[in-house]
Amino acid sequence: MVINIILIIMLVIAAVGTVMTTRLPRSAIGLAITSVLLTIIMFKLGSPLAAVFELSVCAGLISAIFISILSLMRRITTESRAVRQKEHFHKYWLLPIIIVLAAIALSQIHLPMDFNLPKQPSENDVRIILWNLRHLDLLGQIVILLAGSFGVVVLFKERKNE
């Protein structure tokens, strides 16, 4: 239980750090760290396959996408960076206070938790559920992947008149 509390506190700190960081590459790295912590929590909650997906796709692929798009953009000057840091602080100084106040308020609320659910189905293996019960989800995933790849091809295409 103590490890779980430490992990969830680290997750919240990583998320707040991701938002609060001034520089975008650091923000992308913070997002990757958040994904890694989420992966550890998923492993601990008995969802190894989803955790592997989270680690490979979110911590790996999405971080690579963010870093690559940042590398395509121009660098800012030192003067404008100082101005931006000041603006950033003015925008985000409220967030840690909101997070701390929300944590205190939520810890005071005691909701009745009754998890008496209907009898669970006999099958609990993710592979069987994914292929037998949720096969329409797989079809939807394939359609979304195709639509996404088509969108990426259209958006990244170099136009002749440019």
Partner: protein
Amino acid sequence: MSSDIPQLFRVFSIGIILVFIAGLYCLLVTGNLIRALIGLELLIKAVTLFIVLAGYVTGRTGLAQALAITLIVIEVVVIAVAVGVILCVFRYNKSVSVKMLRNIKG
């Protein structure tokens, strides 16, 4: 069901709500399109963790994992397309500020 599951659910729920608040704040306050995307990522991460937690608490981890995998696939497609849109915006405006999008015709 183990006796500490309600306590675990409570602790994780608070953490998930806090991550959600961080993502929502980022999405509302920022003027940078890439940072807005990072805020959206945090929102999706909070939802993913809540699905996995619900599966753990109810003993249906298989179904929760299937839903989480679907969510991750949709997330990566959304991010890839959004990054393409941001790149197009940057090519035209030489900026990724939301304020520049006010000049769009239509």
